[in-house]
Structures are given as structure tokens and as C-alpha cells.
């Protein structure tokens, strides 16, 4: 009997350790699921939708881990990585390369472009130490606008990519024309009791998470964490603080570039123009909901946070639409929930999950 109470006690304790933001969003998600089931939804339909959004967002959320750990904060300049990935995809598609070859080649180019852009961005972050989080979002907005012009001016003539009239790339390039829509998602896809599991996509996500976990067990990774915790301590131990921060931002930007490839195949479109503009905030909200703070992030934060936050986003729209019988403000409601959670997560950022 005493054993049991002790057990309960420790369970309660470990529940207390879960950050409030995680508990709150988790609770909301659970409530929406129950509401959905009560209103006749199939639980597997709701979970499938949740897993789908989890798969496309997880890598973008993961991109924030190195930048947070190195002390430059969440990567508010995620659009830099995203345009790098978009550029990689556009270039490969313009050569009419299709299918898995497109994905692999685009990924390779994305890493190259992302690292280069990340290097420059890292240098910028070092130049504006102390006000990273003010500078970063606008860097992202600016780069999105610059690439908006580029998409118009780029001399690509592929018929599936340009506007029907005149030149310039389309807003959305359909990947089905290149045999690349859902290509990772469909890889080894399985269905159990109506629950769709996009195996290939999830494999990519978990491989990325594992590599990140491994990286923070290497000398370089441990040094990077120390730079984020206490730059003076790191400096006194002979670590090049600025270099460490640049490496972190190269990683972050390159991972974001890869993330947008996963995202694009998951929806079946390459989205251009102002698409990157508002990608940073939901990705950051994912990791913060998972319990990360502005100074400390773990891979577990990415997995838990992305699943809960994107799961909520994926289920809230259909459930509310049915509950409110298609009232016109359902989408507005979804926006309120999404931005409300982002706002809340950002406001909690400095205090941190722990």
C-alpha cells in the first residue's frame, strides 16, 4: 500500500515537472479529440491528421535546437533557411529531375545553400549580439521579399513551373507533375485501423532527431551548449564563442532548408513568394510548447511540442467546423488559437520550460 502511494506521488511529481505550456496545449488537444469523438469523428482520422502535420513541421521545429543551444535564441530567421530549400528545389525541378532523385539532389543543394546562408546569418548574429531576437525576424522578412523578386526574374522556362501568361515562377509548383508529391510520405506507408502512418516521412524526422541528439553528445555539441549557457565560461575554457555561434546558425539554417523539402512533399506543392514569411513563428511555437526555453532546447521538446501543437491545429479545424455547423468564423477561431498559443509560447520563452 505504501509502495502504491509512493508510486502515485512520483507520478504526480513527474507530471509537475512537465512545463505548464506543454500541459496546457496537451490538455486543449485532448479536449478537442474528445469533442471530435463525441461529435462522431473517428479517432484514427483525427490522429492521422495530427501525425500528418507533425511529419511536415517536425524538421522545421528541429532547426531551432542548435540556435537556441548556442545562445542566439530560436531561429526567427527561419525564412532564410526556407528560401535556401526552395531555391534548391526550384533549381533541381527546372532540370526536370523527378521523383526520389529530385528529393535527394534538392536535399544536397539545400544543405549547401543553407550552410552558406547560415554562415552569413551567423556572422550577422555575432555583429548584433544582445539584440538577436529583434534583428532576426526582419532579416527573415527581408530575405523573403528579395526572393519574391528572384522568383519573378529567374530565367526558368519549365512549363509546369511558370505562370501561364508571361514569365516568372508560379505561387505553387505542383509536385505531382514531377512524381514527387508525398514521395517520402508514401514510402512504406502503412495503415492500422484506419490510422495512416507516413513511415518514410517519420523516418526522416526521427533520423534527424537522432542525429541532433548525437551531435549534442560530441565535443563540438557540448561546447556549443556551454556557449549558450554562459559565453564567458566557454571563452575561459578556450572555446571560440563566435565560431560556435556561426556553426549553430549554419546547422539551423541548413536544417530549415531540409525541413521545407519535407514540408513541400508532404503537401504536394512547392510554395513560393510570401510563403516563407510566416513559417518561423509556428515552428518556434512547436519547440516552445514542447518545453524548450529561449536558452535551452532538447530533441524531446521538438517531438512532444510539434505533436501537441500541430496535432491541435490539425484537429481543431474539422472538429470545430462540425460542432459549429460550418459557422463562418471557424477559420478565424483556428487563427486565434494558433496565434494565441504562439503568443503565449513567446511570452514564456525567457522563463523557460523548466
Amino acid at each position: 500500500m505504501t509502495e502504491l502511494t509512493k508510486e502515485n506521488f512520483s507520478l504526480l511529481n513527474s507530471f509537475r515537472k512537465i512545463p505548464f505550456s506543454t500541459r496546457a496545449v496537451g490538455g486543449l488537444y485532448l479536449a478537442v479529440l474528445i469533442l471530435g469523438i463525441v461529435n462522431g469523428f473517428n479517432i484514427s482520422t483525427l490522429l492521422s491528421a495530427s501525425l500528418h502535420l507533425f511529419g511536415v513541421w517536425a524538421v522545421l521545429a528541429l532547426a531551432n535546437v542548435p540556435s537556441i543551444q548556442a545562445g542566439t535564441g530560436p531561429n526567427f530567421a527561419l525564412p532564410i533557411g526556407i528560401v535556401s530549400g526552395l531555391l534548391a528545389m526550384v533549381l533541381v525541378l527546372s532540370l526536370d529531375i523527378k521523383g526520389m532523385a529530385f528529393i535527394l539532389l534538392a536535399a544536397l543543394l539545400a544543405i549547401v545553400f543553407g550552410s552558406l546562408a547560415g554562415y552569413l546569418y551567423g556572422r550577422l548574429m555575432n555583429a548584433v549580439k544582445g539584440s538577436e531576437m529583434a534583428i532576426a525576424p526582419y532579416t527573415g522578412f527581408a530575405i523573403t521579399a528579395v526572393f519574391g523578386l528572384l522568383w519573378l526574374a529567374i530565367p526558368i522556362g519549365h512549363p509546369h513551373m511558370i505562370f501561364f501568361l508571361g514569365g516568372g515562377l508560379r505561387h505553387q509548383i505542383p509536385l505531382d507533375q514531377f512524381d514527387a508529391n508525398f514521395i517520402l510520405a508514401r514510402f512504406l506507408e502503412i495503415e492500422i485501423f484506419g490510422l495512416e502512418i507516413r513511415t518514410g516521412e517519420l523516418l526522416v524526422v526521427f533520423a534527424g532527431c537522432f542525429l541532433m541528439w548525437l551531435f549534442f553528445r560530441t565535443k563540438t555539441g557540448i561546447a556549443m551548449s556551454a556557449v549558450g549557457r554562459n559565453p564567458m565560461f566557454a571563452k575561459a575554457s578556450g572555446i571560440n564563442v563566435d565560431r560556435s555561434r556561426v556553426i549553430a546558425n549554419m546547422m539551423s539554417t541548413a536544417i530549415a532548408a531540409l525541413g521545407v523539402i519535407v514540408y513541400a512533399q508532404g503537401f504536394g506543392f512547392v510554395q513560393l513568394y510570401d510563403f516563407p514569411m510566416f513559417m518561423a513563428f509556428p515552428a518556434i511555437a512547436c519547440i516552445l510548447v514542447g518545453g524548450a526555453s529561449g536558452q535551452r532546447a532538447k530533441v524531446a521538446n521538438v517531438i512532444v511540442g510539434t505533436f501537441l501543437f500541430q496535432g491541435l491545429m490539425a484537429t481543431a479545424l474539422p472538429v470545430f467546423t462540425r460542432v459549429l455547423e460550418g459557422a463562418g468564423f471557424v477559420n478565424a477561431l483556428r487563427m486565434i488559437i494558433q496565434n494565441g498559443i504562439i503568443l503565449y509560447a513567446l511570452s514564456r520563452m525567457s522563463k523557460g520550460g523548466n
Binding site: A223, R229, N230, N240
Partner: protein, 532 residues
């Protein structure tokens, strides 16, 4: 009416459990220059904070005893009260607006308004704050104040770009321009001045005092005190040592009062100890840009296996030496380690060459306070020597844990386990973690700065014993920087006293206390005075 301008009567003050002033009584006569002297932490600042009604005093429960001004007990609740009573102060940091002229700075918030028709209308419409100013009169007043200091600079010059010495004079001119000023407190006014500037400041002080204004002169420069002060009050550890007429004493005696007899603490006798002649560390013309601890040309030679002490008052640059060599702050000069010239500012190279550093700033530099003990201990060794890595180049959790446990045992680090965050440890145990991290690098030269600051007596003894043991048994060269002369004397083989960014002198640990005191106060040629 009493003949005293100001009297402190049995003033005591505690911060929480820490008594910083104990029953201090002394008086200040009208028109005298009264020097206030004491080591860091002796209670000078607290006393002045009481005199100025600083919020820090009242928010911590006020003080005991009484302050009397011209024979009447006064309650000074805020700096405004102090000003109204005619007490002025010139701070160590200048409080001037660079973009204003000298006259505007002197008259700031005490501007003279024009008396004319337009002004009376506009002030009625827009309030007093909108009155136009009588610059002519303001400049005239400022001129008069500057003239009293025999300062022949134009009052309409902008403060920006003035030499530091002039800024000091502007500050003083501002104070003496206030009507009804009775007492002027100068807090280390000569610390930032060149010698000739300091001389003219001292003569200005004489002029002010001759005009009937009393001056409290806080300084640790004994030669200035003996040159200018009428009386001197010495505080030590919050207690009044003595108030004396300067003409009845001398620099040597004052130095002895300041340092006290506490220096002579037990020291394990090691008469047989013979120092290696080999030079391990040679420092030539080292300059370090560490804020508040500037080093301005230090030359030192440290022998192999010795414990070399660096002492001196706070802010004189003793802490800058180790920080500069380790590349924490920008530095220039030549440093030779075991005969090899080392590149300055390259922390990594210093560490790989076998130099370890225990910083005086435990929480800021010494520790990752939100990380466990074991990660703290192994960090530098991993980063510099690639230790604690598995064959796959991943961190070796087992090795890290084992090593941490060993260190916890050896250094008696009191903790729940090696996974406890260092932020939760007491100061002494945090310091032991810092030392453990340095020792994990297996250094040949160890810099330790303020190793016993803010830690309990047991931990203090353990750390000092450990340093002694490292030097005696392992032949490690230890350079210990400390504000506590007593602890330097207890284990060091030689002690360099740093004053104003330079080495004032090097003494054996058994040198008389007065000699240390004189060196700390910038009296370098004390041979004659010792003899006298």
C-alpha cells in the same frame, strides 16, 4: 554651539547578519580636511551612504547611533536632505552631461531665471519650468566657482572632450557653487588623475577648506593624505581604529593602522624550503584592459613550483593580471612560459600549454550554474585535451561520472550527487568545483583569483591547504591573487603588491604589516620612512 561641524556618534550598521560598522564615532571640524582611510570593506562607503541618506541604508533597516550636524541631530532620509543640509559629494564616476557647457553643468537644475515681462507671462501660462534662463548670470557664477579653484578654463567650453582632470574640477565647482555648502565629500578624487592634476586638486582642496568648507577626503594614497589633510580617521573591519592629527603621525604609522596586526597569522614553518631558481613564468610590460582592474605595465617573474601571491586594494589591477594572461580581457605585453613566448589573448593556447585558471568571478565565468557538477568538472579538459570521449568521439558518461565522484571525494565537495546543479551548491563547494575543473586539466601553472572570497572558514582552509599541497607535492606553480593579505601571507612564498596597475613591490610573507600597507597605498620608496 559645538565647535564641530559634523559628528558621528556610535554609528553601527548591519546588512542582514553582517555587521559592517561597529560603534563608529568621530567628528569633523569646520574648515578642516579630514582624511578617511581604510581597506576595501572597512566601512568607508557605508559611512558615506549613511551621511547621504542613500536608499540602500534605509531599505535595509537604517542604522544605529546618531549623526549630528552643528550640534543638532539630523535625520538624513535621502540625498536631497543631504544637499539641503549643505553636504555635497563628488563621486568617483563623473556625473556630467558631455553635450552641455561647463557652466550649464555647474548650474544644472539650479538654473537662474530671467526676471522680465515675457517670463512672468509665459511662466503663468506654461508654469515655472518654461521660464527663460539668465545665461549671463549663470556663466558669471560658474566663472566665480572656477576662479575659486584657480581654474582658468572658459566656462562656456563643452564638457565633452575635456581632460579627465578638468571634469573632476567641474564636479567640484558645481558643489561649491551651491549656496550653503558646508561639507564636501571627495571619494578617491585623485584615483583617475595624473600626478600634476592631482597636485592641483590638492591645492584646490586647501583653498576650499580655507574658505570655511570642511572636506572629507577618502583616499588610500598616504602621501596625499599626509600632504593635505589636517586629521585622519582610519577604519578597519567596520571599526574605528583611530582619529589622529596628521602632524602627529606619519605614513608608516598610518599604513600600520590600516592593515593592522592581523597579518601575522600562523604559517607552517618550512625553513628548509628552497625555491627553484628556474623561472616558470615571466611577464613583461603587461597591460590589460579589464574594466575597474586595469593593468598598466606589470613585470613579474614567477619561479617554478612556488606559490606567488598578488595582493593590493580593489580596483588597482591585481585581478587584471590573471585575466589578461588567460585572454579573458584584451591585453598586450610579453608573457613567457617556461622560456617560450606565449601569444596573448589566445585562451586556448594558454590552456593547452598547461595553464589553468580559477576565476574570481565564480558565477559569471567559473561555472555553468544550471549544469550538473560532473559536466562542470570535465568541461575544459574535454574541450582542450579531448578527454572523456569514447572511441566514437561521443561524451563518455561513465568516465565523466567516475572522475567527478573522485574529485567530489578528494576535495570534499558537499553535494547530493555528481548530478546536482552547481547553482544549488554553497559558495565554498562551488569554489571546489571550479578548482576541480582546473585540476582536471592537469596544469603545470595554476592561476587562482580570490579563491576564498565569500566562502566559509572550513572550505577556506581546505582550499589553501590544497594549493600548498599542489605546490609542495606536485611542484605545481601557483599564482594566487587575493584581497586578503592574511591568506596570501599564510601560504605564499613571495607576495607582489599591485597599486595603480603596476607592481609596487614584492615582499616576503613575513615582512612587517606596515610595509604591505605602504605598498598598497602607493608609497614605493618606504626604506627611508621605515628607518625614520
Amino acid at each position: 554651539m559645538s565647535q564641530n561641524l559634523l559628528e558621528f556618534k556610535s554609528v553601527s550598521k548591519s546588512y542582514a547578519d553582517n555587521q559592517v560598522l561597529k560603534d563608529v564615532s568621530f567628528d569633523i571640524r569646520p574648515g578642516e580636511i579630514h582624511a578617511l582611510l581604510g581597506e576595501n570593506g572597512a566601512g568607508k562607503s557605508t559611512l558615506m551612504n549613511i551621511l547621504f541618506g542613500m536608499p540602500v541604508i534605509h531599505s535595509t533597516g537604517g542604522y544605529e547611533g546618531a549623526v549630528e550636524l552643528e550640534g543638532e541631530k539630523v535625520e538624513i532620509k535621502s540625498p536631497f536632505d543631504a544637499m539641503a543640509l549643505g553636504i555635497g559629494m563628488v563621486h568617483q564616476e563623473f556625473m556630467l552631461i558631455p553635450g552641455f557647457t561647463i557652466a550649464e553643468n555647474i548650474k544644472l537644475n539650479r538654473e537662474i531665471e530671467k526676471k522680465n515681462m515675457l517670463n512672468s507671462i509665459s511662466s503663468r501660462l506654461f508654469g515655472k519650468r518654461m521660464k527663460t534662463l539668465d545665461f549671463k548670470q549663470m556663466n558669471k557664477d560658474a566663472r566665480a566657482a572656477l576662479d575659486r579653484l584657480e581654474m582658468n578654463i572658459e566656462e562656456f567650453t563643452f564638457v565633452a572632450g575635456l581632460p579627465i582632470g578638468y571634469m573632476q574640477f567641474v564636479e567640484i565647482a558645481r558643489e561649491i557653487d551651491k549656496t550653503g555648502l558646508k561639507l564636501l565629500v571627495l571619494d578617491e578624487p585623485t584615483a583617475v588623475l595624473t600626478e600634476s592634476e592631482a597636485d592641483s586638486l590638492l591645492s584646490a582642496m586647501r583653498i576650499i577648506a580655507a574658505g570655511g568648507i570642511s572636506i572629507v577626503f577618502i583616499s588610500h594614497r598616504l602621501n596625499e593624505i599626509t600632504a593635505v589633510a589636517d586629521r585622519v580617521t582610519i577604519l578597519r573591519d567596520g571599526e574605528l581604529v583611530v582619529t589622529k592629527d596628521v602632524k602627529d603621525t606619519n605614513a608608516l604609522e598610518i599604513a600600520e593602522y590600516m592593515v593592522g596586526r592581523k597579518v601575522s597569522i600562523e604559517r607552517a614553518s618550512d625553513e628548509a624550503r628552497k625555491l627553484d631558481d628556474e623561472i616558470m613564468l615571466s611577464i613583461k610590460d603587461l597591460h590589460v584592459a579589464m574594466p575597474n582592474e586595469r593593468v598598466k605595465g606589470v613585470n613579474l617573474e614567477v619561479r617554478k613550483g612556488e606559490i606567488f601571491g598578488i595582493g593590493g586594494l580593489a580596483g588597482q589591477g591585481k585581478l587584471g593580471i590573471a585575466n589578461g594572461i588567460m585572454g579573458i580581457y584584451e591585453s598586450r605585453g610579453d608573457v613567457f612560459l617556461d622560456g617560450k613566448q606565449m601569444a596573448l589573448g589566445k585562451t586556448r593556447k594558454m590552456l593547452s600549454a598547461g595553464v589553468a585558471f580559477v576565476s574570481e568571478d565564480r558565477k559569471g565565468i567559473g561555472l555553468l550554474i544550471e549544469e550538473p557538477i560532473d559536466d562542470n568538472i570535465m568541461f575544459t579538459a574535454m574541450s582542450i585535451h579531448s578527454e572523456f570521449l569514447t572511441s566514437l568521439r561521443l561524451s563518455d558518461k561513465n568516465a565523466i561520472r567516475e572522475h567527478a565522484r573522485k574529485m567530489i571525494k578528494e576535495l570534499d565537495i558537499r553535494c547530493t550527487s555528481e548530478k546536482q546543479h552547481t547553482g544549488r551548491l554553497s559558495g565554498g563547494n562551488q569554489q571546489k568545483v571550479c578548482v576541480a575543473r582546473a585540476l582536471t586539466q592537469k596544469p603545470t601553472v595554476l592561476f587562482v583569483s580570490e579563491p576564498t572570497r565569500g566562502i566559509d572558514i572550513g572550505a577556506k582552509k581546505l582550499i589553501l591547504d590544497l594549493l600548498l599541497q599542489l605546490s609542495r607535492e606536485q611542484g605545481m606553480t601557483v599564482v594566487m591573487t587575493s584581497s586578503e593579505l592574511a591568506e596570501l601571507c599564510s601560504i605564499c612564498d613571495r607576495i607582489a603588491i599591485v597599486c595603480e596597475g603596476e607592481v609596487a613591490g614584492i615582499l616576503p610573507p613575513d615582512a612587517p604589516p606596515a610595509q604591505f600597507g605602504l605598498l598598497m597605498s602607493g608609497v614605493k620608496d618606504f626604506e627611508g620612512e621605515v628607518a625614520s
